[in-house]
Amino acid sequence: MSSEKAVKKQTKLDEVMTRDEALHWLKIMLLGRAFEENAEELYNLGKTHGTMHLSIGQEAVAVGIRSALKSTDYFFNTHRGHTHFLAWGGELNGLMAEFMGKATGVCHGRGGSMHIADIKKNIIGSNGILGSSTALSLGYGINVQLKKTEQLILVIFGDGGANEGVVHESMNLAAIWKLPIIFFCENNSFAMSMRFKDAVAIKAISERACAYGMPGITVDGNDVLAINKAVKDAADFVRAGKGPYLVEAITYRVRGHSRSDRQNYRTREEVKEWISKEKDPIYRFAKLLNLSDEDVEKFGKEAKLEIKKALEFAENSPEPSIENIEEGTYA
């Protein structure tokens, strides 16, 4: 039950996934990146309204998690969840249209960037209230436990959400009931403007795991394989009926918290370091695949083309009808 323990031994790619699988995940990372860069552009052009939370530079977390789990498992997303949605198999067109508030959006234009769900694909949705999904995940855990289906639930929260009281209650309840839940802290080093080190008096969120009687581990959040391995270990533990598990991945939020962030709490140099090819999770993963920068750029162009098509789909989609504005309030 060591909490601070980082994965020391470097995992090799072929121990974890085939080259084709790895290429698939790399393309998903690029697709997520392209989606979010496009989202920024749309916002700057005034083509979309409302805010958004970008996970540029954090793409390894999304594919690291998804590649370690099964499509029958349940996934609770965060408000910074576009790439997670794509990694979990959510439709790009539905995501784009939702982002644009269109009727063809996966939530019919009701949710927008912050509330995206695809229930049929077990993407139970992103949440605008930090840490709150941890409590919702308990209910899915109860259902799985009652029906003995061997599924598990992975619920994400950030380093900000980790400090919400409901996370404490939920981890404790999951532990006493031995619910099949992986609590995953995507620690991107900032809760809006507050640095992680200023928000807690410990070194890692995973240190808290022992307080609930569950294992906890912290891994490099820009390393797909490290995340994959940690989540696989957690999944084995959880599926064996041993109760919940806490995984923390340390990454870095390259963009501001949301569109209105003035970013006066950090330097450009610091950000520059994190967008370097040495630290960028996409280039790091590509290196493991022995791909050149040119290869990455080529795949990146393909991703942009996909985004362009999805945008065309969204732009040509109708607005939700005003007459049905109340639809969905009550069942």
Partner: protein, 328 residues
């Protein structure tokens, strides 16, 4: 037919719902062997086991969140908040999650969960264990709010609530728990959004909520001796609100008194008054619309102060008398 208490009626509704549907589970504090703070769940853990009758630590946010998530996943959980006041610790899960998730996600999910909330003053439990908070939730789109005033309604409304596909705030009044009335043994439901004509009368329409229904009935016995016939309507659910019978009654009587225990200021009575004023029934009013509700203070501990803080039978009698005599 046999007479049983409000507590027994609720328990029977839970038991029959659980027998009928394996997806119905209970989640709450001390609801297992202890049987719930007010005894509503006594014996259910023996019948259904601890997997379906889940005792939780003191974690209102997590237990309500668990209900909401379980409901999204296909179960029909019934959560219990030990005292309705403690709902404050679960407000996010109720207002931001249970109420909104279906809408936000474009109707991809349904959230069939019932949250049971024992509330009300009169037990000497003071400010943090005695509030009537039902109106808070009327103001949150996506929730339904149920306020049973007697054992018969308690059973039928709870069974209907468990079968409903929406999140439901089910407010029980602690002083009603020991009250009895005829309750059928077989399972039955009372549709949500259907008010009850409790007593017919021609002089004043009294809209009474929860425990105020029995107080209004007592007041009616006194008033009838003075030749004042009040008509009592129990909305039974505040959301959806069956307002048409209220309008019809007002058209008949021309006078209306609304009574609830919750604080009068911005209370549900204001909504009913506004709806009457907003409807053609307005033209039939012969007097200002009157309201009785809790004082604008926390519920005090001292028994005399506590009694004074919320409407009593004599307050209803006084107010009705004044209305009858055109003293307003």
């Amino acid at each position: 037919m046999r007479e049983i208490t409000y507590v027994e009626a609720l328990r029977e509704a839970l038991r029959q719902s659980m027998e009928k549907d394996p997806n119905v589970i209970l989640i709450g504090e001390d609801i297992g062997v202890y049987g719930g703070s007010f005894g509503v769940t006594v014996g259910l853990i023996d019948l259904f086991g601890k997997e379906r009758v889940r005792d939780t630590p003191d974690s209102e946010a997590a237990l309500i969140g668990a209900c909401v998530g379980a409901a999204m996943s296909g179960l029909r959980p019934v959560g219990e908040i030990m005292f309705s006041d403690f709902v404050v610790d679960a407000m996010d899960q109720i207002t931001m999650q249970a109420a909104k998730t279906r809408y936000m996600f474009g109707a991809q999910v349904t959230i069939p969960t019932v949250i049971r909330l024992p509330g009300g003053s009169g037990t000497g439990a003071a400010a943090q264990h005695s509030e009537c908070l039902e109106n808070w939730f009327v103001h949150m789109p996506g929730l339904k709010v149920v306020v049973p005033s007697n054992a018969y309604d308690a059973k039928g409304l709870l069974m209907a609530s468990i079968q409903d596909n929406n999140p439901i705030m089910f407010f029980e009044h602690k002083l009603l728990y020991r009250t009895k009335c005829d309750v059928p043994e077989e399972a039955y439901t009372i549709p949500l959004g259907k008010s009850r004509m409790v007593r017919e009368g021609k002089h004043i329409t009294v809209v009474a909520i929860s425990i105020m229904v029995s107080k209004a009935l007592e007041a009616a016995e006194i008033l009838v001796k003075e030749g004042i016939e009040i008509e009592i309507i129990d909305p039974r659910t505040l959301k959806p609100l069956d307002d048409a019978p209220i309008f019809e009654s007002v058209v008949k009587t021309g006078k209306v008194l609304i009574v609830h225990e919750a604080v009068k200021n911005s209370g549900f009575g204001a909504e009913i008054a506004a709806r009457i004023a907003d409807s053609p029934a307005f033209f039939y009013l012969d007097a200002p619309i009157k309201r009785l509700g809790g004082m604008d203070i926390p519920i005090p501990y001292n028994r005399y102060l506590e009694r004074k803080a919320v409407p009593q039978v004599e307050d209803i009698v006084d107010e009705a008398r004044k209305l009858a005599r055109n003293e307003f």
